[in-house]
């Protein structure tokens, strides 16, 4: 139980990467592994050591893998070894970013991939939600102890993740507080668990770009969702594209990489909903614009948009409706 002692030592001293540090020898001699494990069990937390054969091989392959992962949730640890894709992006994202993250989460989880993200506000949360929408599995990697609900606004989301066949994981022992310097370290685990990383919306110099850099360092695939060149929120994702990241234009781009095929695209809706969807192909629009361009009554357009939204083909936010990628 060398790794558990390391993780507990890290939590007790606030250190991050723990090698043979002064003081660790003494800590280890006094460390009561059985008592610590009992405490974890009481919290409903499991520990998956790096030496455990079930430890995800992709994560073990990175250059500084954590000594182990603390897991919240009953889901078997084999979930972490399944093909996974990370979706990361800005916390303060636009409605475009949150819509795309949600839709990607849904499509990729629906296609059989595990969606990994960081439970943060914005893109992360939407990616988790999208995966849950599709009934898929998703893994949230925290930068604090797994017993912490951080951010507090996503406490309910975390609960849904663990009850929905997913896991909330962290290299930090229960009780460790969130701190700004822990998040880049957390990002290496997000990138490490996933075979491919998708950056949805990111400003320049954002945490999502750190994740993408770490993924590149490990030789993983990096996708970036193209954004408007005038939007500061897309500057990071567009910069990645300039550097050679693969542009993501549909979830099929990612599924293909894993040898999976997207669900066959149906004929799409017909009638008024089909007409509205065709109009949305030209870009986002307010209900009033759709009313004018389609010549339909406002109540008909409103009903058609709800139909599209329930089918996952469109989303509305801040008064604008937009088509979702397929």
């Amino acid at each position: 139980m060398n790794e558990l002692a390391l993780a507990a030592f890290a939590a007790a001293t606030g250190a991050h990467v723990v090698g043979e540090r002064p003081g660790f020898g003494r800590f280890r001699r006094r460390f009561d592994a059985a008592a610590y494990e009992a405490r974890l069990r009481a919290l409903g937390v499991r520990f998956l050591a790096r030496s455990d054969p079930a430890f995800p091989p992709l994560l073990r392959a990175i250059h500084d893998p954590p000594p182990g992962l603390f897991l919240r949730g009953e889901t078997p640890v084999e979930l972490l070894a399944r093909p996974a894709v990370a979706i990361v992006g800005a916390r303060a994202c636009s409605s475009y970013g949150s819509g795309v993250a949600r839709s990607l989460g849904r499509e990729l989880a629906g296609g059989g991939l595990v969606v990994v993200s960081g439970l943060a506000r914005g893109v992360d949360g939407e990616a988790h939600r999208g995966a849950l929408d599709a009934g898929g599995s998703t893994v949230a990697v925290l930068g604090c102890g797994v017993d912490r609900d951080y951010p507090a606004a996503h406490a309910e989301l975390a609960r849904r993740i663990v009850t929905g066949g997913g896991l909330v994981v962290s290299e930090y022992a229960p009780g460790v507080e969130p701190a700004p310097w822990r998040f880049p370290a957390r990002n290496r685990i997000i990138a490490g668990l996933a075979a491919a990383t998708i950056v949805v919306e990111a400003r320049e110099r954002s945490g999502a770009l750190i994740t993408a850099d770490l993924a590149l360092d490990e030789g993983r695939d990096v996708f970036a969702v193209p954004g408007e060149i005038t939007s500061a929120l897309s500057a990071g994702a567009n910069a990645l594209l300039r550097l050679g990241a693969t542009p993501l234009t549909s979830s099929a781009d990612v599924l293909e990489l894993f040898g999976l095929s997207a669900e066959p695209i149906g004929d799409g809706p017909d009638g008024d909903a089909g007409a509205i969807l065709a109009l949305l192909a030209d870009g986002s629009a307010s209900t009033d614009e759709l009313v004018r361009r389609s010549g339909l009554a406002p109540e008909v357009v409103a009903a058609a948009l709800v139909e599209l939204e329930l089918a996952g083909l469109a989303s509305t936010a801040d008064g604008l409706a937009r088509a979702m990628p397929r």
């Binding site: 916390r91 303060a92 409605s95 506000r121 914005g122 929408d133 606004a153 500061a232 307010s286 209900t287 009033d288 614009e289 009313v291 004018r292 406002p298 109540e299 008909v300 357009v301 409103a302 009903a303 058609a304 948009l305 709800v306 139909e307 939204e309 329930l310 509305t316 936010a317 801040d318 008064g319 604008l320």
Partner: protein, 485 residues
């Protein structure tokens, strides 16, 4: 010598009979008012004395005691001036005391003896009618208002006129009574709104089903302009409603002289700096608040997020029960407050969110703080939530929209169909609603709201049953995720 005049004090909107007893007896000259009179009421002494002198009557140079009975009831305001003066004059036998038995009186006296109007005359007149009194002495300006209660008002411009009338020396002037209905309807017209098809539709639904409406969106998109046009498409008040509304406005001193009956839905738009007492009522005088003044009408809260949170939370009770109960150590009053709530707000603190031409500068924390101002419980009370987008130039150049009168006709038709009942959901509509509850963040209350709104949409369409298309439309007005804290 003793004499007695009758008037009514108001507890909230409730008239209570008050007997003003005046006793003139030997002793050092003096004038005392007893019986829990407030300051305005105590000051009646000076006005009454001066008014009696101005009417060229004699002020009894003996000891005068006035008692306002029942003594435990708190008396507020200046409406007791006239009955006090009449009781003193009757006690000193300058008018026959028995002439006061069949009359109630209410009014304030000016120092020159003129009679001024006071608030709450309608409620006082109703109280008098209930006690079997059929004549009310009141200021000439208040006559039309008093007549609404079915009492015979006796207009008195001056204390001398009241004295002459009670002595039988003068017949009362006839006062105008009419039914008080106003033909013309003022207020801004929906025809001024260009474009904004979705918002117009939402207003129509809100009017037809009396739904609460929240208009969100960046500044300058016409949210307030739209909200102000809701009263214009509401049907006029029924007779009983009109009387109820007039009673409240009368207590607040807000009825017009020419047309005291308020037969159109009232519209109240308190500023966001308003205190909780100003909004729900109460305060030392136990006055009706904006929520009660908007009874059977529209309460507009412009810039909802700027209101103090306690004021907003206090609105939850009237939104649920249709009345405001104000409890004081001295007792409890209930004001009716069944209003339709319309609110506007920006999507974030800086206001740029939702505006394609601007970039929102709010941090995640600031955005969360802004949204935290509105509790979910309050947001849940809005049946219709729409985001009003910034209109494009082509819309502003569009022709004028449908005028209010046309929309009002449709609203009237829908109200009739809703009142007739019998609108049930079809199987497809039920299926869609179930699917939506699974897919969308929709609470139990949210589901009920959608069902109610769908019924209104079906009634507006004149449909036989609530179809899937009505449920789908209703779903589009649920409060969107971006307004949830």
């Amino acid at each position: 010598m003793l004499a007695r005049a009758i008037t009514h004090a108001l507890v909230g909107l409730e008239p209570r009979r008050v007997e003003v007893e005046a006793h003139v007896h030997k002793g050092l000259p003096g004038f005392t008012i007893v019986g829990l009179a407030d300051r305005a009421c105590q000051e009646a002494r000076e006005r009454v004395r001066s008014g009696v002198a101005a009417a060229e009557l004699s002020w009894p140079g003996v000891r005068i005691t006035v008692n306002l009975a029942p003594a435990e009831l708190k008396k507020e305001g200046s409406g007791f001036d006239l009955p006090i003066a009449l009781a003193v004059l009757a006690a000193s036998r300058q008018i026959p005391p028995e002439s006061l038995e069949s009359h109630a009186a209410v009014g304030e006296l000016a120092l020159d003896g003129r009679v001024r109007r006071v608030g709450g005359v309608l409620a006082v007149a109703e109280g008098a009618t209930r006690c079997g009194i059929d004549k009310l002495l009141c200021a000439a300006e208040s006559c039309a208002e008093a007549a609404l209660a079915g009492i015979e008002p006796v207009p008195v411009r001056h204390l001398a006129e009241a004295v002459a009338y009670l002595r039988g020396e003068r017949r009362p002037e006839p006062c105008e009574r009419g039914n008080g209905r106003v033909a013309a309807r003022a207020g801004p017209d929906l025809g001024d709104v260009r474009g904004q098809e979705r918002a117009r539709r939402a207003l129509e639904l809100a009017a037809a089903g009396a739904h609460n409406l929240l208009l969100a969106g960046p500044p300058g998109t016409g949210k307030t302009m739209l909200a102000r046009r809701l009263p214009g498409i509401l049907p006029p008040l029924a007779d009983a409603e009109a009387l109820e509304v007039t009673r409240i406005h009368s207590v607040a001193g807000l009825v017009s002289l020419q047309h005291p009956l308020i037969d159109q839905p009232p519209f109240r738009a308190p500023h966001h700096s308003a205190s909780t007492a100003a909004i729900v009522g109460g305060g030392p005088g136990l006055r009706p608040g904006e929520a009660s003044l908007a009874h059977h009408g529209v309460l507009l809260l412009d810039e909802l997020a700027e209101f103090a949170r306690p004021s907003l939370e206090a609105l939850r009770q009237p939104l649920e029960d249709g009345e405001v109960a104000i409890a004081r150590a001295a007792g409890r009053v209930v004001f009716p407050a069944r209003f339709q709530l319309v609110a506007t707000m920006n999507l974030c603190a800086c206001g740029a969110r939702g505006d394609p031409a601007a970039e929102c500068s709010c941090s995640a924390q600031r955005l969360a703080a802004y949204r935290d101002k509105l509790s979910r419980a309050l947001l849940d009370r809005f049946d219709l939530v729409i985001t009003v987008p910034r209109p494009r130039a082509v819309e502003l150049a569009a022709p004028r929209g449908e005028p209010s009168a046309v929309v009002r006709e449709r609203v009237l038709g829908a109200r009739g169909r809703l009142a007739a009942g019998g609108l049930r959901r079809t199987a497809e509509a039920d299926e869609l609603l179930t699917r939506a509850v699974d897919r969308l963040p929709l609470s139990g209350r949210g589901r009920a709201r959608v069902a109610r709104l769908a019924r209104t949409a079906a009634a507006l369409a004149g449909a036989e049953a609530v179809g899937a298309e009505h449920v789908a439309e209703a779903l589009s007005y649920r409060s969107p995720a971006e307004l949830r804290a």
